[in-house]
C-alpha cells in the first residue's frame, strides 16, 4: 500500500511533555549519572553539570525542538528532510548529513532494546526470587553473565535472554503501531507517573535503610562531597557536558521527530524547558538517591567505589541484586523492592526506545508512503535480525562498539553539524524567530549569543577532546582483547552497512519525491 496519510499529531500537551520526558529519562538517569558524579568530583561535579545544562543542554534542546517543528511544517518527520529544509533545499549534502539523525536512533534502538529487555528479565527474576541466595557480588556477576551469553548455560538456558528480548520487541511493536497519540503518548501518560512513583518509593526505602557497612547519609556524602581541585580538570567539565547529551537525548534525532508533530502555533520554549526540567528532577533528585547510596550502605565506601568502577550494569544489576537480598524484613518485600527497581529501569528504557524507533518509522511513512503498521513491522523485523548479532556476540564487545560510535561519539558529531546549520546557515535571527512562534516563554536574550557562539564552542571543544582522547584509541582498539578484534571489525562493518543503506534510502526517497513533483 502506498496511500497518502495525513501527518499525525500529539493528543495533549501533557502527553507531549511526558513523551518527551520519557525520551530523555532513561537508564542513564539512574545508572550513569550517580557514577559520573561520584567519579568526577562529587558535589563540585554539579557546577560544570549545571553550567553544561544552561549553555549546552537547554540551548541545544530548544534548537532541536525548533528544527523538528520547522521540518514538520514541510512534512518532514526526520532529520534528512529537516536539514534540507533548513538550507532551503539549496545544499544537496545537507540531507545526506541528516542521515545521521536516522542512522543513530535506529542503531541505538536495536542494542538499547536488548539491554532494556534485561531489565524486564530481572523484574521477572526479582518476583520469582531466582537470584535470591546469590548474595555475593561474584555470584550475581555469574548470574548476569550467564543471562547475557547465549552459549553460557551455567545458570540460565541460552534462550532466556532471547525470550525477554522478543517480548520487549513485541510490546514496543504493539505500542508503536498504535501511533503517536494512541500509542507513544498513552505509554508516556501511564508509564511516567509509575516511573516517578517507583523512584520515590525506592529513594524513601534507601534513605531509611539501617546502617550496615555504612549509612545512607554516608552514601549521599560519597556522591555529593566536593573535591574542589576537580573544577580545574578539563575532563570533569567534559564529563559533565557528555552527561548532558545522554540525559537529554541530544544529538540523536529523536527530539526532532517528536517535535515535527507540532504546529507552528504550538509552544516549544516552555514545553521544551518543562521536559528538560522533568528529566533533571529524575536524574539529580531521584537518580542520585537510589543506587549509589544503597551500594554504600551494603558494601561500604571502598566497595561502592569498586562497583562504580565496574560500570553501570555492575551497579544497576549486580550490586543492586545483592542489595535487595540484604534488605531487612520478609523476603517477599525484598523481592518486590527488586521488582520496583528493575521495572522502573524497564519503563525508563521503553519510553526512550519508542522515541528511538520513531525516526525510522516516520521516514518510511513519509519517504516511501508506507502505512505505519507496515513500517513498524519492518523495523521490528530488522531490529530482531540485527539484534540477534548482539545476543550472539555480546560477550565479544559487539554491543560496546555500537554504543561508542553511534551512541556516544556520533551524538556529538551530529550535534556539531546541526548547530552549524541552525546558527550559521539557517541563521540565528531566523532561528530565534522560529523558536518564538507560538511561544509561552520568551527565551532570555542572552541565549541568542550563547546559541550562536558559546554552545558551538563548547560542542566543538567536546568533539575535539573526545576525538583525541577516546575516538582514536577506540578506533585502534587499545585495551581490547586481541582475540576479539575480528568481532569488533565485524561490528563496525555492520554499522557501516547500515549507514550505507540509510544513505541509499535517503537518495531513493528524494528521487521519488522529485518524481512525484514532476
Amino acid at each position: 500500500m502506498t496511500d497518502f496519510q495525513p501527518r499525525e499529531r500529539w493528543g495533549t500537551r501533557i502527553g507531549l511533555i511526558l513523551a518527551m520526558a520519557g525520551n530523555a529519562v532513561g537508564l542513564g538517569n539512574f545508572l550513569r549519572f550517580p557514577v559520573q558524579a561520584a567519579q568526577n568530583g562529587g558535589g563540585t561535579f554539579m557546577i560544570p553539570y549545571f553550567v553544561s545544562f544552561l549553555v549546552l543542554g537547554i540551548p541545544l534542546m530548544w534548537i532541536e525542538w525548533g528544527i523538528g517543528r520547522y521540518g514538520g511544517r514541510f512534512g518532514h518527520g526526520t532529520v534528512p528532510g529537516m536539514f534540507d529544509a533548513l538550507t532551503d533545499g539549496r545544499r544537496r549534502w545537507a540531507k545526506y548529513a541528516g542521515v545521521l539523525g536516522l542512522f543513530m536512533p535506529f542503531v541505538v534502538f536495536i542494542y538499547y532494546t536488548y539491554v532494556v529487555s534485561w531489565m524486564l528479565g530481572f523484574s521477572f527474576f526479582s518476583l520469582t526470587g531466582s537470584y535470591f541466595g546469590l548474595d555475593e557480588v561474584e555470584q550475581m556477576r555469574v548470574f548476569l553473565s550467564s543471562y547475557q551469553s547465549l552459549f553460557d548455560s551455567s545458570v540460565h538456558g541460552g534462550w532466556v535472554a532471547l525470550v525477554f528480548f522478543l517480548v520487549t520487541l513485541a510490546f514496543l511493536g504493539w505500542v508503536l503501531s498504535r501511533g503517536i497519540s494512541g500509542g507513544i503518548e498513552k505509554l508516556a501518560l501511564i508509564g511516567m507517573p509509575i516511573l516517578f512513583l517507583f523512584a520515590f518509593l525506592l529513594a524513601a526505602r534507601v534513605l531509611t535503610l539501617p546502617a550496615a557497612e555504612s549509612t545512607p547519609l554516608a552514601g549521599l556524602n560519597f556522591i555529593w562531597n566536593p573535591e574542589w581541585g576537580s573544577l580545574a580538570e578539563p575532563k570533569v567539565w567534559l564529563a559533565a557536558a557528555g552527561q548532558m547529551f545522554f540525559t537529554l537525548s541530544l544529538g540523536m534525532g529523536t527530539i526532532h521527530t517528536y517535535a515535527s508533530y507540532l504546529s507552528e502555533r504550538d509552544d516549544i520554549t516552555l514545553t521544551g524547558l518543562s521536559t528538560g526540567a522533568t528529566n533533571e528532577f529524575a536524574e539529580v533528585v531521584l537518580g542520585g538517591t537510589i543506587a549509589i547510596p544503597a551500594a554504600v550502605v551494603f558494601f561500604g565506601i571502598e566497595g561502592a567505589q569498586d562497583v562504580a568502577r565496574g560500570g553501570s550494569f555492575d551497579l544497576g544489576i549486580v550490586a543492586m541484586g545483592v542489595v535487595f537480598q540484604g534488605l531487612p524484613g520478609p523476603e517477599l518485600l525484598a523481592r518486590l523492592t527488586g521488582f520496583l527497581w528493575f521495572f522502573l529501569l524497564f519503563i525508563a528504557g521503553i519510553t526512550s526506545a519508542v522515541a528511538q524507533a520513531s525516526p525510522a518509522i516516520s521516514f518510511m511513512q513519509e519517504g516511501f508512503r508506507w502505512r505505519r503498521r507496515k513500517a513498524v513491522r519492518a523495523l521490528m523485523a530488522a531490529a530482531l535480525g540485527i539484534g540477534m548479532l548482539h545476543v550472539i556476540f555480546y560477550s565479544k564487545g559487539f554491543l560496546d562498539e555500537w554504543d561508542y560510535w553511534a551512541g556516544t561519539f556520533g551524538l556529538v558529531i551530529f550535534a556539531a553539524i546541526e548547530i552549524a546549520l541552525f546558527s550559521f546557515v539557517f541563521g540565528i535571527d531566523r532561528g530565534w524567530d522560529e523558536l518564538h512562534k507560538g511561544a509561552d516563554l520568551r527565551i532570555p536574550p542572552i541565549y541568542k549569543p550563547i546559541m550562536k557562539w558559546v554552545t558551538p564552542a563548547f560542542l566543538y571543544t567536546l568533539l575535539i577532546w573526545w576525538g583525541v582522547t577516546e575516538a582514536v584509541p577506540q578506533l585502534l582498539m587499545e585495551g581490547k582483547d586481541p582475540a576479539n578484534f575480528g568481532y569488533l571489525w565485524f561490528s563496525r562493518a555492520v554499522l557501516l552497512v547500515v549507514l550505507g543503506i540509510g544513505l541509499v534510502l535517503v537518495r531513493e526517497a528524494w528521487r521519488r519525491k522529485e518524481g512525484d513533483r514532476a
Binding site: W10, F50, W224, P226, L270, L273, S274, V285, D440
Partner: protein, 40 residues
C-alpha cells in the same frame, strides 16, 4: 555527611525542583492546549 556535601546536595536538588515547579505552574496557569487539542 559533611556540611559542604549537604549544601551541594540541597542546592542542586532545590534548583531542579524549583525549575520543575516553575514550568508546570506556568503551564497550568496559562491552561494553553496544543493546536487542535480537543476541549474536555
Amino acid at each position: 555527611m559533611t556540611p559542604f556535601a549537604l549544601g551541594f546536595m540541597v542546592v542542586s536538588m532545590a534548583s531542579v525542583t524549583v525549575l520543575v515547579v516553575y514550568c508546570y505552574s506556568r503551564i497550568l496557569r496559562d491552561g494553553r492546549r496544543l493546536d487542535g487539542e480537543a476541549e474536555d
